[in-house]
């Protein structure tokens, strides 16, 4: 009978720990029942180890494989072929392999898979926290591999952990170098990433009164750092996203272009000479935005923004689009002209588009608008009159408004009179258009939180906002915010200030509420976010472009030879460093100075072929050296006599004298060396 391989007790604990650690982050994204299966497999493994359960039988394994296959098919059907279905398949396979592992080979398979699982964690998130976590996981996996190869006598968990940590730290320089210089090759295949919540950020459709809640998510939308000069005032922070021009009576929609978004062809479509339509004054504001993934192609910026990145381009409505969906954190630079006038001459087609309202419905509002327009002289006065109407009548700003029925504009304007930015922007635009004034809805974000620790701003999902742009003769498109007329706090202080008494809102953003009220938590939160920001800016957004930039700054123009030279140089540098540290790993005892001097002498003499043998005492060595080199007799005798005196005679009590002895010994060593150097030469000649 063959002898069964026993998984060492100590290493099994390590294996279970590392498997648990690598599964844990995935469990947030996976369906709960897969997580349950995973953890029960861990338990099963433990019970096998403690002898209370057996290995799965052949039948059991067939059942498990079939089950896994069915599950993965079901997953693909419900979730589509994507990250989540793939990773839950991987997880299932991983934990089932864990249960049936018997041989050392199986353990290696499981541990290699653990590394893969670590990488999968990065597909979901690349935050600082998860990176640190994965680093810890890797240390534990290394420790597992070490434990696997140690005998039970050495298997002290602490020393294993220490060794793993030391190995990980030794790998750190190489990792950094590889991170900096390894070519960023575009992936040959891409995992279709499906974040659980689907798309985030503002959408390209807006149906006021449909959704009864909005803007409660305290998730981050993007971070902004102003590079030249101070940021604008809070009330001017309108992060322009999309322009919605089409209205069908309930929904505002973006103007659809013929080609689909996110293709290169679209870029050509958007090419136009925007300087002709724009008048700008003053210095532009330059800033960097790091956008959280939205799964949408558009990005946000202050009006009027001029994108500096290659892949960003601008639409005719001065929206900014990326060439492709934003599926991972995206960093871009913008230049904004706060003092701008756009489209002083409005094309007929644009005028028609922006004054169009549905033929039927909302008759009361249309009538109200035409009446009001008749009572004032200019379009601008009309705008003010409408804003005044919002302000002077009992309109309320709330995130939980009543739902609107049939004629939504009428219902809102004369009946419910409560809502949030969408309601106000939509109604305002409708009234404007009813009176023939070209108006459009703009969606984006408003406001930001300033983080003083790294000097940047944070914009959250609850900063989402909608406002209007009205075309006025001689001024072009001008921004108006009807929400500001109703709730000035919303514009000046932000959504939280506007809704301080709204219990429902505060409950949902509990953390924000707590942090807002206790300065300690607030400071902590801002500091953590500042760390995260630095991480994103310096590590996560380090892509090919930045890499090339860095190299050009360091080494001038990049040539193939230079890159090759650099790679080879860095690699060899790191290997030499690692090699040296490996050589020095053994315990190194500190020699006392006398012994050191003696060793120096021995190594000097070894160069003329008279190396000291390991078991050779000082007197024997002296005699041998003198026999071979009579000319050294006197010096050798002097040196050895003193060495023996210091080392073997009764120790000198006087410390000063002892120091002097060492000094004299050093002197005698130097005399010997001086006598040796000509001998070396003669030996080389002979």
């Amino acid at each position: 009978m063959e002898v069964a391989y026993q998984i060492p007790r100590a290493s099994l604990q390590w294996i279970l720990l590392s498997v648990f650690l690598v599964i844990a982050p995935q469990s947030i994204y996976m369906p709960i029942w897969i997580t349950l299966i995973a953890f029960s497999c861990l338990l099963w493994r433990y019970l096998i180890f403690s002898g209370r359960l057996n290995y799965p039988s052949r039948l059991m394994r067939v059942v498990i494989v079939t089950f896994t296959l069915l599950v993965s098919i079901a997953q693909m059907r419900s979730l589509g072929v994507g990250l989540e279905s793939a990773s839950s398949l991987l997880t299932l396979g991983f934990v089932f392999k864990l249960v049936e592992m018997r041989e050392k080979r199986d353990i290696y398979v499981v541990m290699s898979l653990s590394f893969v699982m670590c990488m999968v964690a990065f597909l979901y998130s690349q935050s600082l926290l998860i990176s640190l976590y994965v680093a810890a996981c890797i240390v534990v996996i290394i420790a597992t591999l070490i434990a696997l190869n140690r005998s039970s006598l050495q298997a002290d968990a602490r020393s294993t952990g220490r060794m793993a940590l030391r190995m990980a730290l030794q790998a750190l320089p190489l990792t950094i170098v590889l991170f900096l210089v390894f070519p960023r090759i575009a992936p040959l295949w891409a995992v279709p990433v499906q974040a659980t919540g689907g798309t985030t950020g503002v959408t390209d459709e807006m149906t006021p009164g449909d959704l009864a809640s909005l803007g409660r998510s305290s998730e981050l939308a993007f971070r902004v750092q102003f590079e030249n000069g101070p940021p604008p005032l809070h009330q001017d922070l309108y992060w322009r996203g999309l322009v919605l021009e089409n209205f069908d009576g309930s929904t505002w929609m973006r103007r659809r272009y013929r080609s689909a978004y996110g293709t290169a062809a679209e870029r050509g479509n958007f090419q136009f000479n925007w300087e002709n339509r724009v008048l700008v004054q003053g210095e532009p504001l330059q800033y960097n935005v790091i956008l959280e993934p939205t799964q949408q192609p558009w990005v946000y910026g202050l009006h009027l923004a001029d994108p500096l990145n290659r892949n960003l381009f601008q639409s005719r409505n001065f929206e900014i689009y990326n060439n492709g969906l934003i599926s991972k954190r995206f960093s871009y630079d913008l230049r904004s002209y706060a003092n701008n006038q756009t489209d002083l001459v409005l094309l007929d087609s644009a005028r028609a588009r922006n004054t169009e309202i549905p033929q039927r419905g909302n008759e009361r509002s249309i009538e109200f608008a035409r009446e009001l327009r008749g009572s004032v002289n200019t379009d601008r006065d009309f705008v003010y009159a409408v804003l005044a109407h919002f302000r002077d009548n009992p309109f309320y700003y709330t995130l939980n408004p009543e739902l609107l029925r049939d004629n939504r504009i009428d219902d809102f304007l004369f009946n419910t009179r409560e809502g949030f930015c969408e309601h106000f922007a939509s109604t305002f635009a409708f009234l404007m258009r009813a009176a023939g004034v070209p108006t459009r809805v703009v969606v984006g974000y408003h406001g930001a939180e300033y983080n003083p620790y790294e000097d940047y701003m944070m914009v959250y999902q609850n900063n989402a906002h909608a406002w209007n742009e009205v075309w006025l003769e001689g001024e072009g498109w001008v921004r108006f915010d009807p929400t500001g007329a109703v709730s000035p706090e919303r514009i000046e202080l932000g959504v939280e200030a506007a809704l301080q008494d709204d219990l429902a809102f505060m409950e949902q953003s509990l953390f924000a509420a707590v942090s807002g009220r206790f300065s300690f938590f607030n400071t902590l939160r801002l500091r953590l976010d500042a760390l995260e920001y630095e991480w994103n800016r310096r590590v996560v957004s380090y892509d090919e472009e930045v890499q090339v930039e860095l190299f050009e700054r360091l080494f001038g123009e990049i040539t193939e030879q230079k890159v090759l030279l650099l790679l080879v140089g860095l690699a060899s540098l790191v290997m030499v460093a690692v090699g040296l540290s490996v050589v020095n790993i053994g315990p190194r005892r500190k020699l006392d100075p006398v012994t050191q001097l003696y060793q120096t002498l021995a190594s000097e003499l070894s160069r003329i072929g008279l190396a000291r043998k390991t078991g050779e005492g000082p007197l024997d060595y002296r005699d041998r050296v003198v026999a071979a080199r009579p000319e050294l007799a006197e010096l050798m005798h002097d040196f050895t006599a003193l060495y023996v005196a210091i080392n073997y005679k009764p120790p000198v009590q006087d410390e000063q004298l002892a120091r002097k002895q060492v000094k004299v010994l050093k002197q005698r060593l130097n005399n010997l060396r001086a006598a040796l150097s000509p001998l070396r030469g003669s030996r080389a000649q002979s």
Binding site: T595, L619, N647, Y648, K649
Partner: protein
């Protein structure tokens, strides 16, 4: 391979300085070498052993001069000595002594055996049975003898010089490790070199040479050596070296067992005495290396050692692989 290897000698020992002790040693060596030609180093080691207060085991083939050396040592040191010829029918009482009923006094009186002597020569010790061998044990270690419930001290100084044939010769009872350990040194004499042998042949005599040996040391001298050798400095560097040696025997797989603490003490004692005999007040690593073969060879045994003769090769490893300076 020869049956018996001579001790791995280091003839070129540390230089001998002029001192009352070294002079006495010179004289003694001079006297003894009248009887045993060309074996100065072995004589020196034997003296070192006795000056350290240890017992000496001389092992070699018959006719190599074991007994001669023992006689010569006894004579040169002027010690009262008894010789016991060990045979297979020797009984413990023959060594220790016996109580005999005295008809005159009507009492038992103790008749001390040959062991009650300053120097006991146990000739061919491995020819006797283990029972008799072990009778020597208490005497050698405790320097006292217990016969019929009464403990009697042995004279001071008390030395045992035992001789034995190599254990793989016929009719021998090998000494157990416990007893070997009680001998401070085991010497091997080896064949005389050509010059000494020629001289020997020219003299054309057998045992008479021993008569030429004059007493040149006294009991007082011997005890003086013992007291003074304890005063010899063994620096921490030297102790380190000895500890490294001992650790080597205990950690390497080739050794079936390591040196006992008695063994390491023996090394130190002998090294100090050697240093004193060389006229120094401090011991150096070379002293340790000189006495090491005689002191530890019989205490070591290799793993695949049937007859207890791998000590010499193990000792070479000790001398070569343990760093003197570190």
């Amino acid at each position: 391979m020869s049956l018996i290897s001579v001790n791995a000698d280091k003839q070129a020992a540390a230089p001998i300085l002029d001192s009352p002790f070294s002079q006495k040693v010179e004289r003694a060596v001079g006297e003894i070498s009248k009887a045993l030609l060309g074996k100065d180093h072995q004589i020196r080691l034997a003296l070192c052993c006795l000056f350290s207060g240890g017992h000496l085991l001389i092992e070699d083939l018959p006719g190599m001069g074991k007994t001669t050396l023992s006689y010569a040592l006894a004579r040169a040191m002027g010690l009262e000595f008894n010789r016991i010829q060990f045979t297979s029918d020797l009984l413990p009482a023959d060594i220790l002594g016996i109580s005999i009923f005295d008809q005159n006094s009507g009492q038992f009186s103790f008749h001390p055996g040959p062991i009650f002597s300053q120097l006991v020569m146990a000739d061919e010790i491995n020819r006797t049975t283990p029972k008799t061998q072990s009778a020597l044990l208490e005497a050698m270690e405790e320097r006292q003898v217990t016969v019929e419930g009464e403990t009697r001290p042995l004279p001071e100084p008390f030395f045992v010089i035992a001789t034995q044939n190599p254990v793989n010769l016929a009719g021998t009872y090998p000494l157990p490790e416990s007893q070997l350990d009680r001998f401070l040194m085991r010497l091997r004499l080896g064949y005389p070199d050509q010059k000494a042998e020629r001289e020997l042949l020219e003299m054309n005599t057998e045992r008479d040479k021993v008569g030429l040996v004059q007493q040149c040391l006294t009991t007082a001298d011997v005890s003086q050596f013992r007291i003074q050798s304890a005063e010899v400095t063994a620096s921490s560097a030297l102790l380190d070296y000895v500890q490294r040696l001992v650790a080597f025997t205990r950690s390497k797989d080739d050794f079936s067992y390591g040196l006992s603490p008695r063994g390491s003490l023996a090394v130190m004692r002998a090294a100090k005495t050697w240093a004193l005999m060389c006229g120094r007040d401090h011991a150096v690593p070379e002293d340790v290396q000189v006495i090491l073969p005689a002191v530890v060879e019989h205490r070591l045994r290799g793993n695949s050692d049937e007859d207890g003769h791998s000590g010499a090769s193990l000792l070479q490893r000790l001398l070569n692989e343990v760093d003197v300076i570190a």
